[in-house]
């Protein structure tokens, strides 16, 4: 055998979510503090492949990226009758917590991007004690809408093409063409109505304005990082959100947009590495290794 084999391993876990079993696909690599990564709306866990392949991070973190049901290799549940998919705050929260429980993860670090960045805030409000740290990429309590989501799923518009074309401009112009294309490929592969259904959470059900003040970063540290080219969740959106939370750490990432981990993994690494270092240092202090 002379092919290059990456350290990432993919498996399926059967997860009970609200009384129904889901077959969830996840990939992982590394050992140590569990670090669960949440993909953006309409995409899947492949967005995290560069992070998971990072051998330095793998020395201290068990990095896990799972595909939400209806996304990537996680199918809809067996009971699905074709009804319109719609992600709610409650369902999203339950899915994450059930997945962590199924893998018996001990106080994982949770890192989410976009809708994942939003739900991280929700986890900080309602379930902070279950997590070691929370990292929200491209996250805010609310973002002003900039297009009509009904274009995303209708028979006279190609869903894959329109989903990809809409989000293409959310990436930084400096991001490498191959990484931009790979990021868009996942959008072109998404199931009909899935991106739109995810945005129900983002646009309708997940407005956290007036709630983020309840976050206590002493219970669980919160890191918010947003790319300067993200015009969906703008740096101003993230800063406004952080201003209402005592102790949240905010970083505006240069030459990055809405998909930092996949559109320019090298540039993203410069920003996420210090955050992971801080989490490691806090862990060392907690366990008396310092």
């Amino acid at each position: 055998m002379n092919g290059v084999i990456e350290p990432i391993v993919g498996r399926y876990v059967h997860v009970d979510i609200d009384g129904e079993m889901y077959r969830i696909y996840f990939e992982e690599s590394g050992a140590g503090i569990p670090l669960v990564c949440l993909h953006t709306a309409g995409s899947d866990g492949r967005q995290w492949r560069h992070l998971l392949a990072d051998r330095e991070f793998a020395r201290n973190f068990r990095m896990i990226a799972f595909d939400m049901p209806w996304h990537g290799k996680s199918n809809p549940p067996a009971s699905w009758d074709g009804a319109e998919y719609q992600l709610t705050t409650a369902r999203y929260t339950q899915t994450i917590r059930s997945f962590c429980k199924a893998l018996q993860l001990d106080k994982p670090v949770m890192m989410g991007c976009s809708i994942g960045g939003r739900i991280v805030l929700n986890l900080a409000i309602d379930h902070a004690a279950e997590f070691r740290a929370l990292i929200g990429l491209e996250g805010a309590d609310f973002q002003a809408p900039w297009y009509d989501t009904s274009w995303l799923n209708r028979p006279d518009v190609h869903g894959g093409e329109v989903c990809a074309a809409l989000v293409s401009g959310l990436m930084a112009p400096q991001s490498p063409a191959t990484s931009r294309a790979e990021t868009l490929w996942a959008y072109k592969q998404g199931g009909p109505g899935v991106f739109k259904g995810d945005l129900y959470f983002y646009r309708v059900d997940g407005d956290l304005r007036g709630r983020v003040e309840a976050i206590d970063t002493k219970v669980c540290p919160l890191f918010l990082l947003t790319g300067e080219y993200d015009f969906s969740c703008t740096p101003e959106d993230t800063k406004r959100t952080a201003a209402a939370i005592g102790g949240a750490t905010v970083t505006i990432m240069e030459q990055l947009g809405h998909f930092p981990m996949s559109e320019n993994p090298e540039q993203f690494r410069r920003y996420i590495s210090p955050v992971l270092d801080r989490i490691l240092a806090a862990e060392a202090e907690r366990t008396g290794l310092r």
Binding site: W151, E161, V162, A165, Y229
Partner: protein, 138 residues
Amino acid sequence: MDSASNATDAAITKAFAGIAALLDQAPALIARGRFLDCECLLGPLSHPFHASIRQGRIVDLTPSPVLMRSWRFSYRASAAAWAEHWQPAPRPGFHDLLALTKRGEATLEGDLHPFITHLQYFKDVLALPRRHFATVAS
């Protein structure tokens, strides 16, 4: 209007007038628009162009106004926005057609169906002057 903004307007108009020829040199982009036949209004807010697109090629590009000419959709932006959009690395918020509409620098009007079905095509067509704008503007 000062002489600097007059110069920008003139450069933008000149760049727009050259888009059809730039598109002719981009066969992959034409191929992506091969199912598109459309009349649209594109360009600066105050003096856009009527564009006639046939099978992905711009076969006619005429400065407005043209008496009683119809169009299905219009995408117009301020001259300053186009000038920034066509920089090699545009500033955040000026780097995408829908970033410009969100920040109020551009307007999108009419029947959006042809625009949405060919969104990446229009993004790429309207970015064509990027490589040449510095030369055109100088």
